[in-house]
């Protein structure tokens, strides 16, 4: 299987503080890589580099064999999309849902103007939101619903790679479950490759195929999920896993 995404010794430093230090990573097409690490480990910075929001000081990012430079082509912009953590900051408060969804559709000419409305309705259906949401403003939605709209916007341009930067951390437990299921279903349906970032081991275990652990800007372990959760290679990974409070499971 061709590697969808290659990250070659990426280094980023913010005035002396080294956020990313010679990071090498690749994600196979149509698989989900979970990126785990504590706050300040650089996982979000790496996501921003891949999404093109941050230009690395060294190294390069390659997506399906094309090098992603600072000024990306329209196709490259279309191919990689991102969903963010904070539901109340992920949507423009002054735009209606219709405007939010149609911006990508129009800019990348996904559908002609005539079919714009149907496409928006389809997108909302995909994320289990009903049509009358189109005319409403973001403040009228709950955190979970807003993340769904953000996801709808991301997939509106039919990307190949979806980056999710802690999409459910700010949500309540019950809502979190439904959003994760949505992401899982979309991944299957649209055959997406996904880079999933979280500090919550439970979420990573539920969503990802392979797991990468980051600490102070370095990747210290990459292993398939099954192997990672049973006997992790790195000492730090073991520490991380043992620190997670476990719930005693009773046979109900």
């Amino acid at each position: 299987m061709s590697d969808a995404l290659q990250i070659k010794n990426i280094t980023v430093n913010y005035g002396g503080f080294i956020a990313l230090n010679q990071v090498n990573l690749q994600i196979d097409a149509h698989t989900t890589l979970g990126l785990v690490g504590e706050s300040g480990s650089g996982k979000s910075t790496l996501a921003k580099v891949v999404a093109g929001l941050v230009t690395p000081d060294e190294g390069e990012v390659r997506f399906s064999e094309q090098v992603l430079r600072k000024r990306r082509t329209r196709m490259q912009h279309k191919a990689i999309q991102m969903v963010f953590q904070n539901p109340d900051a992920s949507l423009n408060p002054k735009h209606t849902v219709r405007q939010i969804l149609s911006e990508g559709l129009l800019f990348h000419h996904i559908v002609p103007r005539s079919q714009l409305m149907d496409r928006c309705r389809e997108l909302l259906a995909l994320v289990h939101l009903d049509e009358d949401a189109l005319v409403r403003y973001p403040y009228a939605f709950s955190g979970g619903q807003r993340q769904r709209i953000a996801i709808a916007r991301a997939i509106s341009v039919e990307p190949n790679l979806l980056i999710a930067d802690e999409p459910t951390s700010a949500l309540d437990v019950s809502v979190q479950l439904s959003v994760l299921e949505l992401l899982h279903r979309l991944k299957e349906k649209l055959n997406l490759t996904m880079l999933f970032i979280s500090h919550d081991m439970g979420v990573i275990n539920a969503v990802c195929d392979t797991v990468a652990v980051m600490r102070q800007g370095r990747i210290i372990e990459v292993s398939p999920k099954e192997q990672f959760f049973l006997h992790p290679k790195a000492d730090y990974s073991y520490q991380l896993l043992s620190a997670v409070p476990r719930m005693p499971i009773f046979n109900r």
Binding site: E38, S174, Q176, Y238, S242, P245, M247, P248, F250
Partner: protein, 254 residues
């Protein structure tokens, strides 16, 4: 059920906003001396409001409309967001010393030494004695320890914790939880632990209260609730905790 050792008892507590919007209705709970109870619920379930009612620190727009709160001894509280819970312009040791001097009526000098002892007890670095540091120069975990020091300075019989570890990394969270358990064993204060994370609550608390939209939907000993939850909402909470395969790998030099 009012046994001698109950140190805090609330019955039929109801809270509402000034424009009559009901927030908390008929909440009753009790904590034995030195015991730990957990209040579990999602955001907006009124759990932290109940805590604030216990320590009479309700925001001006929310008033008590019913029920009674009886605490045997003084209470102290620690909060979720260590970043904004400390005065950014006042050095850390001075803040703790200030609390010590007011609560334990000691002179400025002795309260400073007392404060340093407390901070040492909580495992904060020694160099605080020499150069006092500002909150923004400490890590999240260290700031939370300072908050605990401030709470302990009031020599509380009851320590109220409003999701103290939610904003922390998982490794730091483990240290803080262990610290709290250790301190409770030593100082024998009662602990009321509010969280949305069922896993933490079940590890720490002997008794659990599950809250939804301002009401207690289920309560009882932790094992009983986890073994056979009665209320549908509790079942949903338990099922939505993403379980992890138990760790088998043995790491050399563990």
């Amino acid at each position: 059920m009012m046994s001698m050792s109950t140190i805090l008892e609330i019955n039929q507590l109801s809270l509402a906003t000034t424009n009559k919007k009901q927030l908390v209705t008929d909440v009753s709970l009790a904590v034995g001396k030195g015991k730990t109870i957990g209040i579990v619920g999602e955001s907006g379930s009124g759990k932290s409001l109940t805590l604030r009612a216990i320590i009479q620190l309700l925001p001006p727009t929310i008033i008590k409309v019913g029920g009674t709160i009886r605490c045997e001894s003084s209470c102290a509280m620690i909060f979720q967001d260590p970043v904004s819970a400390l005065d950014p312009l006042c050095p850390v040791v001075r803040q703790v010393a200030e609390v010590v001097s007011y609560r334990q009526h000691l002179s400025r000098k002795t309260s400073r030494t007392k404060a340093l002892e407390l901070l040492a007890l909580l495992g904060l670095p020694e160099d605080l004695k020499r150069n006092d540091r500002y909150p923004h120069q400490l890590s999240g975990g260290q700031r939370q320890r300072v908050l605990i020091a401030i709470a302990l300075a009031c020599r509380p019989g009851i320590l109220l914790c409003d999701e103290p570890t939610t904003a922390l990394d998982v490794t730091v969270q483990k240290q803080i939880l262990e610290l709290l358990a250790k301190l409770q064993r030593e100082l024998n204060f009662a602990l009321v632990f509010v969280t949305h994370n069922l896993a933490i609550a079940s590890a720490l608390c002997t008794k659990l209260y599950v809250m939804k939209e301002g009401r207690i939907v289920e309560q009882g000993r932790t094992q009983d609730i986890l073994a056979n939850p009665q209320h549908a909402y509790t079942k949903m909470l338990i099922d939505s905790v993403l379980h992890l395969p138990d760790l088998k790998g043995v790491i050399a030099g563990e």
